[in-house]
C-alpha cells in the first residue's frame, strides 16, 4: 500500500519521520518529496493514522500538501500508489476482494492526475474548434462533396472520418460528450482528493518558533528594537487576523482565496449537472402564428430527452391578439411586439401580456419568446368587393431582411399565363404594387386606406396581417444552471484574492518577521515593507525620538 509519511514542523524534531507500516504493506519507494529542498517547511502538523487502509482516500494525500501551492499535484504519490498495488495481487487469499476494494481509490487516484485533466481540457478545446471548422448538421451528401475520398483534406481526412466519428453533429457526438463526462469525473475526483483536504490543512494555523525557520520564508526581515505586539496591531489594522502566543505571532489574510478554487470546481459541476438536465428533460418548440389565431402549447412543444415530463400547463391555449412592429425613421425595424392571451381548459383568460424580443412571457414553468416574424396575408378590396385575404409568400429570406409577395389575378384565370397585380412587401409598413406588365405602380400603407388604380382595377389595401414567430420552452435545468453561473462568477472573483501569511518572533529586543503569499508575489515585498515601516521603534532611555525607522 502507499507509504504514509508525515511532515512535521520544527516544533518537533526537524527531520521528517516515517511512521512504520503494517507488515503486509510494501514500502518500496521513497517519496520524492523528502529529497526535494523545500524552501519553506510545511507549517502544519499532519496526523497519519494507522487505521485500516481501506478507509477514505484522504489518507492518500495526507503526506504532501504544500501550502505554497494552489492545487498540490498529487503526481508523485498517485503514481507510486498505483504501482504499489500490484505486488499485492500475488496474495492468494482474497486477492480479488482486496483489489476490488482498492479499485475505487485507484480509479480516483488516476482520475485526479493533473496532466490528465489538462489533456482532457485540451481535447475538449480541440474538438470544439474542429466543430466550428466542419459545418454542422448538414446532410451526408454535403460531406461527400466537401471531403471527398479522392482528394482528402490534409491527406487523410475524408467524409468517412466525419460521419463515423460523429463530427457532423459534434456537440452531441459520443466522442465529445464522453470527453466532457471524463472531465467531469476528473473534476469530482480532484475536488475530493485534493481540494477538500487542502481546506482542512489551510485552516490550521501554526506558529514558527525559531528565527531560522522564519528567515527561510520568501520574505523576511529583522526589526531591531521593536515589539511583536506592535507588529500585531499594525497587521490587524491592515486587515490581517492575528494570533499571538507568547513571543511568537501568526497572521493571515485572504484565506478565502484558498477555498475559492473548490468553489469554482463545484460550480462547474453544478453547471454540468444543470446542462445535462436541460439536454434530457426539457421541451422545445417554435411556431409561426398569424395574428388572430391560436394554438395549444402542448401541440407545439416537443421533448428533447428521456427525462422530459409534460405538465398540466401544456393544455393552455395561446391566442395571438395582435402582432405589430415598431420602425425607425429610416424604415428599419426596431422592435416586434405580440399581444398574447393565455386561456386555460375552461376558457378563462389566465394571463395577458405583450411580449417583444428580450422580453418573454413566463407562465407555469414555460416561457414564450418573440424570435421571428412573418407575413401572413394581405387584406385587399378589389373594385370595392371583398375584403379578400391574399396569402403572402416568402420570396427571399436573408436573416432579418425578408421579402414577401402576393399576386392578385385580374384576367381570366383559365388562360395559360395569368396576368395580375403583384404586391411586394419588406415589412408590415408599406406595400409596393406592380401592374400586369410588372411595372412599378405605387406604394401604399395599409392604414391609409387610399385606393390605387392599376389598369382599371381599383385596389385598396385594408390591412397587412402579420404572423408572429414564437419560441416556446420549458427547461427544468435552468435554475440549476443559473445557480452554477452565479457561483462560478462569485468564486472566480474570490479566487483572485491572495492568501498571505506572516510569522514573527520576538528575539530579544528584535523582531524577526517572515511571510509568504500564494498569488500576488510581485507586490508582496513592497506591501510588507510598507507595513513594517509603520512599526514603531522602541527607544530605550533617550527621549522622544520619533519612531518611523527600520533597523536592518
Amino acid at each position: 500500500m502507499e507509504s504514509l509519511n508525515t511532515f512535521t514542523n520544527p516544533l518537533n524534531p526537524p527531520s521528517p519521520r516515517r511512521i512504520p507500516l503494517k507488515p503486509f504493506q510494501i514500502h518500496h519507494h521513497h517519496p520524492k518529496t523528502t529529497q526535494r529542498n523545500l524552501p519553506s517547511p510545511i507549517s502544519c502538523k499532519l496526523k497519519s493514522s494507522q487505521k485500516d487502509t481501506t478507509k477514505s482516500s484522504t489518507k492518500l494525500i495526507s503526506q504532501k500538501i504544500l501550502l505554497s501551492e494552489n492545487m498540490p499535484p498529487p503526481l508523485a504519490e498517485e503514481e507510486d500508489g498505483v504501482e504499489a498495488e500490484k505486488p499485492l495481487e500475488n496474495d492468494k487469499n482474497g486477492a480479488m476482494g482486496m483489489w476490488l476494494k482498492r479499485l475505487p481509490r485507484r480509479v480516483l487516484s488516476v482520475l485526479s492526475n493533473l496532466p490528465l485533466a489538462i489533456g482532457e481540457m485540451a481535447t475538449v478545446a480541440a474538438l470544439m474548434a474542429l466543430g466550428t471548422i466542419i459545418d454542422q448538421g448538414e446532410a451526408p451528401d454535403f460531406y461527400f462533396q466537401r471531403y471527398p475520398e479522392d482528394n482528402p483534406a490534409l491527406g487523410f481526412f475524408t467524409w468517412r472520418w466525419v460521419l463515423t466519428l460523429g463530427f457532423d453533429h459534434m456537440y452531441s457526438s459520443p466522442i465529445f460528450l464522453g470527453t466532457l463526462v471524463l472531465l467531469g469525473t476528473s473534476l469530482m475526483a480532484c475536488t475530493y482528493t485534493t481540494q477538500i483536504p487542502l481546506v482542512k490543512v489551510a485552516r490550521r494555523w501554526n506558529f514558527l518558533q525559531s528565527s531560522e525557520a522564519i528567515r527561510k520564508q520568501e520574505f523576511s526581515e529583522r526589526l531591531s528594537r521593536a515589539s511583536v505586539q506592535d507588529l500585531g496591531i499594525i497587521l490587524m489594522g491592515s486587515g490581517y487576523e492575528v494570533f499571538l502566543k507568547g513571543p511568537s505571532l501568526y497572521a493571515f489574510k485572504g484565506l478565502a482565496g484558498r477555498f475559492a478554487p473548490i468553489g469554482v470546481h463545484l460550480a462547474m459541476l453544478l453547471i454540468m449537472a444543470g446542462g445535462t438536465l436541460s439536454a434530457t428533460g426539457s421541451f422545445k418548440g417554435s411556431v409561426t402564428v398569424p395574428q388572430g389565431l391560436n394554438f395549444v402549447i402542448g401541440d407545439v412543444l416537443g421533448p428533447t430527452g428521456f427525462l422530459s415530463n409534460p405538465s398540466e400547463e401544456f393544455n393552455t391555449e395561446v391566442h395571438v391578439n395582435r402582432f405589430y412592429m415598431d420602425y425607425y425613421d429610416s424604415g428599419e425595424v426596431s422592435q416586434f411586439h405580440t399581444d398574447l392571451s393565455l386561456f386555460d381548459l375552461g376558457g378563462k383568460e389566465v394571463m395577458r401580456k405583450t411580449i417583444s424580443v428580450n422580453d418573454p412571457l413566463r407562465y407555469g414553468g414555460f416561457t414564450i419568446y418573440q424570435t421571428d416574424w412573418s407575413f401572413s396575408a394581405l387584406q385587399v378590396l378589389k373594385d370595392s368587393e371583398g375584403p379578400f385575404n391574399l396569402p403572402m409568400a416568402p420570396l427571399q429570406i436573408n436573416g432579418d431582411k425578408k421579402l414577401f409577395g402576393t399576386f392578385l389575378p385580374v384576367s381570366d384565370t383559365d388562360a395559360s399565363s395569368v396576368k395580375g397585380i403583384s404586391m411586394l412587401a419588406r415589412d408590415l409598413q408599406s406595400i409596393v404594387l406592380y401592374d400586369q406588365d410588372g411595372k412599378f405602380a405605387g406604394v401604399r400603407r395599409p392604414n391609409s386606406k387610399l385606393p390605387i388604380d392599376i389598369g382599371g382595377t381599383k385596389i385598396v389595401i385594408v390591412d397587412a396581417i402579420g404572423s408572429t414567430g414564437l419560441n416556446l420552452k420549458t427547461d427544468p435545468g435552468v435554475p440549476i444552471v443559473y445557480a452554477g453561473f452565479g457561483a462560478l462568477m462569485l468564486t472566480t472573483c474570490i479566487s483572485y484574492l491572495s492568501h498571505t501569511q506572516v510569522w514573527a518572533l520576538q528575539d530579544g529586543t528584535a523582531v524577526v518577521v517572515g511571510g509568504k503569499t500564494n498569488r500576488a508575489k510581485g507586490e508582496f515585498p513592497e506591501e510588507m515593507n510598507r507595513l513594517l515601516n509603520r512599526v514603531p521603534e522602541i527607544v530605550g532611555q533617550s527621549a522622544s525620538e520619533h519612531s518611523e525607522d527600520r533597523g536592518g
Binding site: 501551492e69 494552489n70 492545487m71 498540490p72 499535484p73 503526481l75 493533473l114 485533466a117 489538462i118 481540457m121 485540451a122 475538449v124 478545446a125 470544439m128 474548434a129 466543430g131 466550428t132 454542422q136 456537440y171 446542462g275 422545445k284 425607425y328 429610416s330 428599419e332 425595424v333 426596431s334 422592435q335 416586434f336 417583444s356 424580443v357 428580450n358 418573454p360 416561457t367 419568446y369 424570435t371 436573416g399 432579418d400 419560441n471 416556446l472 420552452k473 427547461d475 435552468v478 444552471v481 443559473y482 453561473f485 462560478l488 462568477m489 472566480t492 472573483c493 483572485y496 498569488r519 500576488a520 508575489k521 510581485g522 507586490e523 513592497e526
Partner: protein, 319 residues
C-alpha cells in the same frame, strides 16, 4: 452635427497623441537619460485615455445606445481598455512593465479602427431588436475588457519566451564558440510582436541575475493580469449565456463565437492549472499563454470574418 464633428476631432486627437507617445518611447530607448521624456509619455497616455473616453461618451450620447453594437465600436472599446490597463499599475506606483505592451497595442487597435479599412462602419448604426437589452452593456464590455487583459498577459508571456529562448540559444552558442565568459555589458532585446518596438536594456554585472529577475517579474505580471482577464472573460461568457436565455430561450447554442470564447476560456484555465506545478512553471505556462494570444484573435476577429451565426452583427468584409 456638432457631435459628429466632436467625435471626428477626438478620434484624430487620440490617434495623434498615441503616435507621439510611441515616438517618445522609441526615442527613450536610444537615449536613456532623458527622464522628462518618460514623464511626458505617461502624460500622453493619460491624455489618450481621456480622448478615447470622450470619443465613446460622445458616440453614446449621439447615437442613444451604448457604444458597443458593432465591430468598429468594439475596437474603440478595446483600445480604451488597453489604456485603462496601462494606467492601473501607474496608480499602484509599480514600475510599469506593461506600458511597453499596452501603449503599442492601443495605438494599433486605434489605428486599425480609424483606418481606411473600416470607413464604412464609422457611422452609428441602428440597433436591431435583439441587441436592445441592458445585458448588452455588461456582456460585451466584460468580454472586451477580458480580451484586452488576456492579450496583455499573453504578450508578456511571449516576451518571456523570447528572453528565455535567447538565453538558451546564447548559452548553446557559447558552448560551441568558447567565447570569453567575463562579465560585460549585455544587451537584452526582445521584440514585441505587435509593435516592433525594440526595448533595449543594458545591464552590467552578472547577466544571469538580471535576466532571471526580469523573467521572474514578467512571469508574475503575466500571471496576475491573466487571472484578472480570466475573471472578466468568465463573467462575460456567463452574462452572455444568461442574456441568450432571456432573449432566445437557450443559454448555449454552440454558435462559432460562443464556442471560440469557450475555447479561449479553456485554454487559460489550462494556463492557470499549469502554474500550480512548480516544475513546469515559467516555460510551459508561457507557451500556453502564447497560444492563447492567437486564439483570442481568432475568437475576436476570425469568427467575425465568417459572418455567420448569432453574432453576425460584428461581421465585416475585407475587400
Amino acid at each position: 452635427m456638432i457631435f459628429s464633428t466632436l467625435e471626428h476631432i477626438l478620434t484624430h486627437i487620440s490617434f495623434s497623441i498615441i503616435s507621439i507617445v510611441i515616438t517618445i518611447f522609441l526615442i527613450s530607448l536610444s537615449v536613456d537619460e532623458i527622464v522628462g521624456l518618460y514623464d511626458s509619455s505617461e502624460k500622453g497616455m493619460i491624455a489618450t485615455f481621456f480622448c478615447i473616453t470622450g470619443l465613446l461618451v460622445t458616440r453614446w450620447i449621439y447615437s442613444g445606445h451604448f457604444p458597443l453594437s458593432d465591430l468598429y465600436e468594439s475596437l474603440i472599446f478595446l483600445s480604451w481598455s488597453f489604456s485603462v490597463i496601462h494606467m492601473v499599475p501607474y496608480f499602484k506606483k509599480h514600475k510599469n512593465y506593461l506600458s511597453t505592451i499596452t501603449a503599442p497595442s492601443t495605438i494599433f487597435t486605434q489605428g486599425f479602427a480609424t483606418s481606411g479599412l473600416l470607413t464604412e462602419m464609422h457611422q452609428s448604426e441602428i440597433v436591431v431588436p435583439a441587441l436592445q437589452s441592458q445585458w448588452l452593456m455588461m456582456h460585451v464590455s466584460m468580454m472586451i475588457l477580458g480580451y484586452a487583459a488576456l492579450l496583455c498577459g499573453s504578450l508578456l508571456s511571449v516576451a518571456l519566451l523570447v528572453i528565455t529562448l535567447r538565453k538558451a540559444i546564447r548559452v548553446f552558442s557559447k558552448k560551441n564558440n568558447f567565447l570569453n565568459e567575463s562579465f560585460s555589458f549585455v544587451e537584452i532585446q526582445y521584440m514585441n510582436e505587435r509593435s516592433n518596438v525594440l526595448l533595449t536594456t543594458s545591464f552590467c554585472s552578472s547577466r544571469n541575475y538580471y535576466r532571471a529577475q526580469l523573467i521572474q517579474q514578467l512571469d508574475q505580471w503575466s500571471y496576475r493580469i491573466i487571472s484578472l482577464g480570466f475573471l472578466f472573460l468568465t463573467i462575460g461568457i456567463l452574462s452572455g449565456a444568461v442574456w441568450a436565455n432571456e432573449a432566445w430561450g437557450s443559454y448555449w447554442n454552440w454558435d462559432p463565437k460562443e464556442t471560440w470564447a469557450f475555447i479561449t476560456w479553456t485554454l487559460f484555465a489550462i494556463y492557470l492549472h499549469t502554474r500550480t506545478n512548480k516544475n513546469w512553471e515559467s516555460l510551459n505556462c508561457a507557451i500556453v499563454a502564447s497560444i492563447g494570444f492567437l486564439i483570442i484573435w481568432i475568437c475576436y476577429f476570425g469568427v467575425n470574418l465568417l459572418g455567420i451565426g448569432l453574432h453576425s452583427y460584428g461581421s465585416f468584409n475585407l475587400h
